[in-house]
Subunit: 316 residues, 2 copies
């Protein structure tokens, strides 16, 4: 599948940071940046730009805050055409602290939001656009919000925002390919002057296939992570996506190297991937929070009890 407009964004450090409190060291992040740059991937997302007034720098690592100086240290001296992205959550960033793009190594700021906070997200994204950043709005937990409010939010984004792309985010790994088709078509139909993106989660082993589905129906901004690292079951594996896209601008080999050298050893220390409680969360269209707690308990392999607890919670 070759389409010139397609942009791939690697969020290894950002989504991977959700399972280690954003505690990747500079060496690791530099290795990822080198691999991403050499492989020709369009964007690399470094983490969240949260306010230090709201989160403790003792509790969280560097990539929860993404200071410009830390990003400069990572990318220094590495030849690259890859643009740098950071993510902000509605309500967790002090927008006045963010310098204009001309003074920052960051090229793009992505605003993560729920449908209900779309007004705030548009306000924030426009603020960053005025500081000359590329911007996107990423609508999270979309499997819970597929109704009239979503449609209204999409109309607002088209009319009021200056964003480049609107992302559909399947935070719960609950979507099958038919809902992905419906959502991408809906967004494409309303957002006539913007690009549409997709970010999948792999709870039911569907992150890659749903990304393909989004491509088939016109999404051009695609998120992935190396070896699928990310919260809970993780994300669409970058190596599979590059293999599928067959765009001559991409080179798979640097990604294979870093999986061999860094990600396989890392997977022995922290957990992500196909794990039954995450699969159950996806099937039940639930946040993986309860499953993540289970995996940190001594009942981590007690799948039936976990399943029944979710069934019963929904019946109560």
């Amino acid at each position: 599948m070759f389409r010139k407009q397609i942009k791939v964004l690697d969020c290894t450090i950002r989504d991977g940071g959700l399972i280690n409190n954003h505690n990747f060291d500079h060496r690791f992040v530099r290795e990822v940046y080198k691999a991403i740059s050499t492989s020709g991937v369009d964007y690399m997302e470094m983490g969240y730009k949260n306010s230090k007034k709201l989160f403790s720098t003792e509790e969280y690592g560097l990539w929860k805050f993404c200071d410009d100086e830390e990003i400069k240290r990572v990318i220094e001296g590495i030849k690259s055409k890859t643009k740098i992205s950071v993510m902000v959550d509605v309500g967790r960033v002090d927008i006045e602290e963010v310098k204009p793009a001309s003074e920052s190594p960051v090229d793009m700021i992505r605003v993560a939001t729920y449908v209900k906070d779309i007004d705030k997200a548009i306000f924030m994204a426009n603020h960053f656009a005025e500081k000359d950043y590329e911007t996107t709005i990423n609508i999270m937990a979309i499997s819970r919000d597929q109704g009239a409010e979503l449609e209204e939010a999409l109309h607002q984004v088209e009319q009021e925002s200056k964003i480049k792309a609107l992302y559909i985010v399947d935070s719960f790994g609950a979507l099958y390919q038919e809902p992905v088709e419906r959502l991408i078509k809906l967004a494409k139909g309303i957002l006539k002057t913007r690009e549409v993106g997709f970010h999948g989660h792999n709870h039911q082993q569907l992150a890659f296939s749903n990304t393909i589905e989004s491509i088939i129906h016109g999404a051009n901004y695609l998120d992935a992570t190396i070896y699928g690292i990310g919260r809970a079951a993780g994300n669409c594996p970058l190596e599979l996506l590059i293999g599928f896209l067959k765009n001559p601008k991409f080179d798979l080999r640097p990604i294979l190297d870093i999986i061999s050298n860094e990600l396989v050893p890392l997977r022995n220390k922290i957990e992500w991937g196909y794990i039954i409680p995450y699969a159950i969360s996806g099937m039940m269209n639930e946040h993986p929070r309860a499953a993540m707690a289970l995996r940190n308990s001594d009942k981590k392999e007690n799948y039936r009890e976990f399943y029944e607890s979710l069934v019963n919670a929904n019946l109560d």
Copy 2:
């Protein structure tokens, strides 16, 4: 997705047997049979019915041969509506050794074949049909055989065979959802009086989504294995398929129990699942043979070299 005609076939023991020389003990196979029966799955496939003249009983376990007496030992005393299936390969079975269905615990015999051997497969399947077995023909390695010969084979099956269902088998885990759509539509268009089935392999994390894709386009016979066990990257995970189908006849809980109690411990002893050399095989539309050899060598994590060896082999 509820459709009354859908039949799910568990091939945990059969496809799983490909990674342990069919050496599951009676206790394990009984536990699987209990779980499959309690969960309401329609068929359970026990293994291959190969001739002992061709394969050594010292080298291979019981489920390479599937003697009726061994199957009887497994199912004895367990209440079940699940039908029993065995698989035969063209050229590896002595058809005269197979008793009539009325004298056997086996309900269905599935004939695995390549397109080029379709005449032999039809002959064998008809022989078993005359002995009153349900029969299917499973066309393997379909990603290499999508052209005019496949169409001719499908016409022959429709005209000459007595089978119940024709399976599309993605042996190399190379298909994306668009080729699955095309193949299922092709088979449905030609096989007007038969059912169509799908058997996926998970090299690119697409076995489950491709199974959904096949359902969308009318496949009613679906293969899966518990926790996705199977050769190389394994198969479509039964637990995900049951979660998707939402048919009230299925109960997920016995499957969750056996994953907790048997499959998770087994996965620590034998390897299947998302492993990069298998993903590379899938991308390159290659048999996983070379990747399986790599995983048994001291270069098991040397992904770049493996990738380049396949690229170069294709260029030579």
